[in-house]
């Protein structure tokens, strides 16, 4: 117990110090990009304004909005179908519709550029019907990028909308029905408006994802800010223009984020507890069941089934032609090692931030937590740009090592992890910790023996989430990878960008296969709650 007395005064201070340092380091990249951009020569700003910026801003927002509209339509309609209707196979579709999250955007993009591209299977089939000169619109376009991103991200909206449909207090709807409002009227005038917070949360995930995506837009050659930043970094000796575009990109992401916060504040609904009953599912008639099956099967096939089958078929032919050699296992190891290390570091780093913010929510501690969220609006190429410069000044011996890549992952994905670490900590009542302290444990022992065991499932979820995202990450990995340290994601992109689709398939398939169990784990947590 003497030990506890010694530890007690020093430990909190050192913890705060750690949190402050970590927060400072995490916000450094953002600060650096802003500084570089604002210190840039006005002539470069005006040149970019007259040449590139209007097009890039327009393209980026147009893609974000159209994908948001597409995912809204798909996500909500599918969620309604599985949550409120009963039809054969509903239970299977209910979880299968989450699987598209396992396919990285660049993988879906390359599959669609093969499927819908000139001379691809869809065009060939169309030419059989419509004559040999018939052409389909190219997937390398705004429409193509919208299609791919929508199919890849609708599960975000679907998941949240499904939970909202299931959690909604059914009595609101019953009141509307009792007052003579039709079923459709109830859906559009009562249910959907009440679900707004969940839908908006899903859409904001989608939009941030689209705005910071590099893989799909680069393979589909659709110019967005993120893609332009990457091109500037790789094609120019001078990083000034890249940092200006980066700052704009950060601004666009922030605008969407703030809009979402504002919207959520305005539309906050509270359920009257105690009278909750789960809404009943209505049985579909034969026609309805057929339509529902066609719809869900179609979306599932387009977003996961067909792509996964093509990857499998290509992988088989790549393996049998001897394209998978000993190097392949090296790529697997590199991917696993880097992502595992990044996720572990992020959990370790996130712990003091989340702990202090929930246990001692002083202004400084909350600010530290907010600083950690800076990575949210730092898309891969932007983070890489800042880190390259920062590391070469502050820690030059790390330049070109895996350490920089791990830092990039931590900065970018810690926010996602914090979102499940924070609530996990908040759910543990401080009483338990106080009891432990009063029974003679020190702060450290309390943390180790009481708090951590209670929050572990939230932390494991955070670890898994960050592991997955690091594994799929592409632009920062391309820019920061050390010599001879290609990952699976890098291999997919290198082969796919030269249209060697078969050679890209084994790596892509492995990413998907490794991602699926983790996604199911995350979803199953959600499932019980719903």
């Amino acid at each position: 117990m003497n030990q506890a007395a010694v530890v007690k005064p020093s430990f909190p201070d050192s913890l705060s110090l750690v949190a402050l340092t970590v927060a400072g380091l995490l916000s450094l990249p953002l600060a650096y990009v802003a500084y570089m951009a604002l210190a840039a020569d006005a002539a470069i700003w005006s040149r970019l304004w007259t040449t590139r910026i209007p097009e890039l801003l327009l393209n980026t927002t147009a893609l974000a909005l159209s994908v948001a509209a597409g995912t809204l339509l798909l996500g909500v309609s599918l969620a309604w179908l599985v949550a409120r209707r009963e039809f054969p196979g509903r239970r299977v579709w209910e979880w299968a519709l989450v699987l598209p999250l396992a396919i990285p955007t660049y993988v879906l993009a390359y599959i669609y550029s093969h499927l819908l591209g000139t001379g691809g299977p869809v065009e060939s089939a169309w030419q059989v019907l419509a004559g040999p000169d018939a052409r389909l619109p190219s997937p390398h376009s705004y429409a193509g990028a919208t299609l791919v991103m929508t199919l890849d991200t609708f599960p975000f909206v679907y998941l949240l909308a499904r939970a909202a449909f299931l959690n909604l207090n059914v009595s609101y709807e019953e009141v509307a029905r009792a007052c003579g409002v039709s079923r459709a009227g109830t859906l559009f005038r009562i249910t959907l408006p009440l679900m707004r917070p969940a839908i908006v949360a899903g859409l904001s995930l989608v939009i941030l994802y689209v705005v910071s995506d590099f893989g799909a837009v680069s393979l589909l050659r659709y110019q967005t800010l993120t893609y332009a930043v990457y091109q500037q970094i790789t094609g120019r000796y001078d990083p000034t223009a890249a940092s200006i575009l980066s700052l704009l990109l950060v601004a666009v992401a922030l605008v969407f984020l703030i809009a979402e916060r504002w919207f959520r504040q305005r539309s906050r609904f509270f359920q009257t507890t105690g009278r909750y009953r789960a809404p009943a599912r209505r049985q579909c008639g034969p026609l309805g069941a057929t339509l529902a099956t066609i719809y869900t099967t179609g979306i599932f096939a387009a977003s996961f089934g067909v792509p996964a089958c093509m990857l499998a078929a290509w992988s088989v032919s790549a393996v049998s032609s001897g394209a998978v050699d000993i190097r392949f296992f090296g790529f697997v190891w590199n991917s696993t090692f880097l992502s595992g290390l990044a996720a572990t570091c992020a959990v370790v780093i996130g712990l003091p931030l989340a702990y202090l913010a929930s246990r001692r929510p002083s202004r400084v501690n909350l600010l530290c937590l907010q600083a950690a969220y800076a990575g949210y609006v730092l898309p891969g190429p932007v983070g890489a740009l800042a880190l390259l410069a920062i590391v070469s000044h502050l820690a030059p011996f790390w330049y070109g090592t895996a350490a920089v890549l791990v830092i990039a992952y931590v900065v970018h994905f810690l926010p996602a992890g914090l979102q499940s670490m924070e609530p996990a900590l908040q759910q543990v009542t401080p009483n338990l910790e106080e009891a432990s302290r009063s029974l003679g444990f020190g702060t450290a022992a309390t943390l180790r023996r009481v708090t951590l065991p209670l929050v572990q499932s939230g932390f494991i979820a955070a670890w898994v989430l960050m592991f997955l995202q690091s594994m799929k990450e592409l632009p920062a990995t391309l820019l920061l990878r050390p010599v001879g340290f290609d990952t699976l994601a890098v291999r997919v992109w290198l082969e796919a960008s030269e249209e060697y689709y078969q050679l890209a398939a084994p790596s892509a398939l492995l990413i998907v296969v490794m991602t699926i169990p983790a996604i199911l784990l995350l979803v199953s947590k959600d499932w019980r709650a719903a």
């Binding site: 680069s218 050659r221 091109q231 120019r236 959990v347 030059p396 330049y399 010599v483």
Partner: protein, 348 residues
Amino acid sequence: MNQYRFHKFGLLLPVLVLAFYACLAAWSAPAPAAEPDRLVVYSGRAERLIKPLLDSFQAKTGIQVDLLSSGTTEVVNRLQAEGERTPADILITNDAGSLERARELGLLRPPAPPNNIETIPARFRAADNSWIGLSGRFWIVVYSTTLVKPSDLRSLLDLAEPRWKGKIAIPNAGSEYLQAGISVIKSIYGDDRTKQLLEGLKANAGTQVYGKSSQIVEAVAKGQVALGVVNHYYAYRYLATQPGAPIAVLMPDQHEGGMGAIINVAGIGIIAHSKHADSAKRLVEYLVSEEGQKQFADLNKEYPLHPRVAADPALPPYKTTRVAPVPLTKLGGLREPAMALIEQAGLR
């Protein structure tokens, strides 16, 4: 339940901590740079165009070669940032301008004499030999034989004409081939004609702006566009794998009074801070030798620069080709002003 959770966590925590420390230990282990028979190559060329040559060097000498294959500008930026701490021993790029820039930045050093690099004609080497050309390439027009007749076009400058609107594919502004090509055109025709060309290219290409030359050839072969501007070997490599493809190569600016085709080289240089200068020199000598040069000719359909090694017979003979009269060593200095024009035109 809590008991169970605690137990599981008790297992997890040490594993995580151990993993963390294992990784730290792996980093702080002495760098592999200390081993003698190991070279690190930074390459701006596509992996499949250079790895086979490095593999045969490795098989022949036993010197292990680690390759970082990335963009040319990117690896030069990286070398500059790494300075004396760089793990790299060799720089290979697809563009003389970038090599010249690396030389000006003091990143390269000439191989120690005696060596065999003098077999490469002097116009394909740096003035101080700190970079050496390995293979030549022309910036050509690849066209779809179903959509275009070779008589439709004779100069790269014709590509700015409005009749090509929506029909051409070009590389993006980050492409070193484009930057080098524009440098040459600018030094021959001046700023105004070059600006006109760039604006025409931008308008005519529209969204058909590609990151990889192989994609441009593919787009032409599929008839998505009528023609594209690429290095010659991308077209010939495509024809070698797909012999019936409806594409052909047009060597531009060969007419009387024309500027001649734009030539560039892929080249090699030894990194100034390399700790394995001897092994690095052996790699340079291997790639310059007849054996190495023959591989460039066979594998990549490039023009070998060694006078005794013949190019692929399918290629237009080098001797009868009119070549634009801008020395390769000038490409470095021309780069910045050319980039300014490209950026003013707002190419992607």
